[in-house]
């Protein structure tokens, strides 16, 4: 099944090398060939976009953080689905039900989050 290491990962190495090459190449060539115009509009983060307002170092609401934490927690849960899927056929019904129990507990958590209104960002009744 597994061909000899690390040759098996040669395509990935190739991919990484190519990505570095393309990204670096674009930077270098545009640096060499491009015309240099400096003015205020050019230096702004989005030249053709919205004009920046205020400082980028403003503080964000804790709501964002809560979403990030929940994202990780559900991410961890999804990671466990992967090995389960790999041996799903072997496990049969037993594996199915053990995952069902696991998912039920996570769904209880999701239900909790939902009912608590963590996902409701707009104030109700406005």
């Amino acid at each position: 099944m597994s061909p000899s290491y690390p040759e098996a990962y040669f395509p990935i190495l190739l991919q990484v090398g190519l990505a570095v090459l393309v990204a670096g190449g674009v930077l270098v060539t545009s640096h060499l060939l491009g015309r240099r115009v400096r003015n205020k509009t050019k230096d702004s983060p989005y030249e053709c976009g919205i004009t920046p307002v205020g400082d980028a170092r403003g503080r964000f609401s804790v709501k964002f953080y809560l979403v990030a934490v929940l994202f990780i927690l559900f991410d961890v849960e999804v990671v466990f689905l992967f090995p389960w899927a790999v041996v799903f056929r072997e496990l049969g019904l037993f594996g199915f039900f053990s995952m069902l129990l696991y998912m039920a507990l996570i769904l209880a958590g999701f239900f909790f989050v939902w009912k608590k209104g963590v996902l409701d960002w707009a104030k109700r009744g406005r």
Partner: protein, 490 residues
């Protein structure tokens, strides 16, 4: 794939399953309960306690009826033995007491939410696995389940900066110690190529006792475990966490979490690490001595009663460790008795602090108790009982625990440790009597009003009755402690 989930596995897991079921149930039903009727959650949690108790009792009587020393489930991941059942009873009692003292307190703090009770039950689930699991991964997840619930509960007073700070400190140091512990576990696994404690014990005993690998595993695991029981020099988190946490949680933390961590520690040191006892015995002796010294000396200068009791509980951990250092039957029986007694007396003392909390003051200053004897003599006397027991003065139960520990030290010729342990009892008596003096001899202050509830009264009564009963009529409890020993020592 030859894995089967049998009837035995289910039987072995039943208390934990029931706890989780009720925990999730409270989370869901909480949405349908109005803000003023949150005590229903406490009721649900108590009913859950009843079911768990019944499951536990079934396990106990099954073992007794079939004359089995232990019942192994899930291919060795869980072992139900006298040891686990004994500790499970302690967790059950402590959680039930914590539930009944909480309703009133949370209302005063205006943080009465269903999550609190759910977290209590989940914490207890973790403890159940700490006391009965015999496999490293299950033990670790059990520990984290308990610890994570406690981090949240310590910070449950979200408007209170002290509570937030306590939660962050506890979380950081707790995570650090878990890291150390899991590092040790990984070396255990490397040594034995198995996560089952029995296999690890065999692998370690077949090695040279001076093997550096074994020493590394021992050192890292010990540091992690000593953090959890708040033994010096790894005790720094305890006073801050105890002071900032909601007092009801402080009571629960100081009793149940400590008992669970000791169950874990005893299991690790007596099963996989038993064969390297010559290496760890002097180390643990030094840690115990340092713990008693720091705990007792730091307690003298405290003016906050929660901090004082935090340092005193650190010193109690030192005494309990001494039982493991001597390691004979008397010592281990002494540990069981001590932890049982400590559960009641320490919980009682903290419940008094809970009762002092009213709308106006936090009530955790020693001076808030001034003149309690004049105002509410019954409460002053109850507090006196708990303090006498904490100091270890007969006929209270605290004396019994200390007596067995000292006896075991003398039996195993640890005379120096015994001398120090006895000396520190005098130091401890000094700071406990400071509280007594304030209660009985000072002028009454107006602000120190007791605001109790039926739950607090019941909890105080239960704690006081057992604190006295174990001291006066110890036979049934000694027998319980005897049954809690590992089969090899009985």
């Amino acid at each position: 794939m030859n894995f089967q989930f049998t009837q035995t596995d289910f039987f072995v897991l039943r208390p934990a399953i029931l706890l989780c079921l009720f925990g999730c149930g409270i989370l869901i039903t909480d949405f349908f309960i109005e803000a003023r009727q949150k005590f229903f959650n406490a009721l649900t949690a108590l009913i859950g306690r009843g079911f768990t108790g019944y499951a536990l009792w079934q396990q106990q009587s099954y073992l007794k009826a079939n004359g089995l020393p232990e019942l192994v489930g899930l291919s060795g991941a869980i072992t139900i033995d006298g040891f686990g059942i004994f500790f499970n009873w302690i967790f059950l009692i402590a959680t039930a007491l914590a539930i009944i003292i909480s309703t009133r307190y949370l209302e005063i703090e205006q943080e009465h939410h269903g999550e609190y009770y759910a977290l209590l039950l989940f914490a207890q689930t973790g403890m159940v696995f700490l006391a009965t699991a015999t496999e490293l991964v299950t033990l670790f997840i059990g520990l984290e389940l308990m610890a994570l619930s406690f981090y949240v509960m310590v910070g449950f007073l979200r408007g209170d900066k002290r509570s937030n700070e306590a939660a962050v400190k506890y979380l950081l140091l707790g995570a650090f110690s878990s890291g150390m512990l899991v590092y040790g576990f990984s070396i255990f696994y490397g040594i034995a190529n198995s996560t089952k404690l029995a296999d690890i014990a065999q692998a370690i005993s077949s090695r040279d006792p001076k093997d550096p690998m074994v020493f590394l595993a021992l050192a890292t695991t010990a540091v992690g475990l000593l953090f959890k029981i708040a033994a010096a020099p790894f005790h720094m988190w305890a006073p801050d966490a105890y002071e900032g946490a909601p007092t009801t949680i402080t009571a629960y933390l100081s009793v149940a979490s400590k008992a669970a961590s000791f169950a874990f520690l005893l299991r690790i040191f007596q099963s996989p690490l038993a064969s390297v006892r010559p290496t760890w015995e002097p180390l643990l002796g030094a840690v115990a001595l340092l713990t008693m010294t720091l705990g007792n000396l730091a307690a003298i200068s405290q003016t906050n009663i929660k901090r004082l009791l935090a340092y005193s509980s650190i010193s109690h951990a030192g005494y309990i460790l001494l039982g493991l250092v001597s390691g004979n039957q008397t010592g281990l029986k002494g540990i069981a008795v001590y932890i049982l007694v400590y559960t009641f007396m320490n919980f009682g003392a903290f419940t008094m602090v809970v009762a002092m909390r009213n709308q106006k003051i936090i009530g955790d200053d020693i001076d808030d108790m001034a003149g309690l004897m004049v105002k509410r003599p019954a409460y002053a006397v109850l507090m006196l009982i708990f303090l006498l027991s904490l100091a270890g003065i007969p006929p209270t139960a605290g004396f019994l625990g200390k007596y067995y520990i000292f006896l075991s030290l003398i039996q195993t010729q640890h005379y120096y440790l015994a001398v120090f342990a006895v000396l520190y009892v005098a130091v401890a008596a000094y700071y406990y009597f400071r509280i007594v003096k304030v209660m009985f001899a000072s002028e009454a202050v107006e602000r120190g009003e007791i605001s109790d509830s039926a739950g607090i009264r019941v909890a105080l009564a239960v704690s006081a009755v057992f604190t006295l009963l174990i001291g006066v009529y110890p036979e049934p409890f000694l027998e319980m402690a005897q049954r809690s020993l590992f089969a090899s020592l009985r």
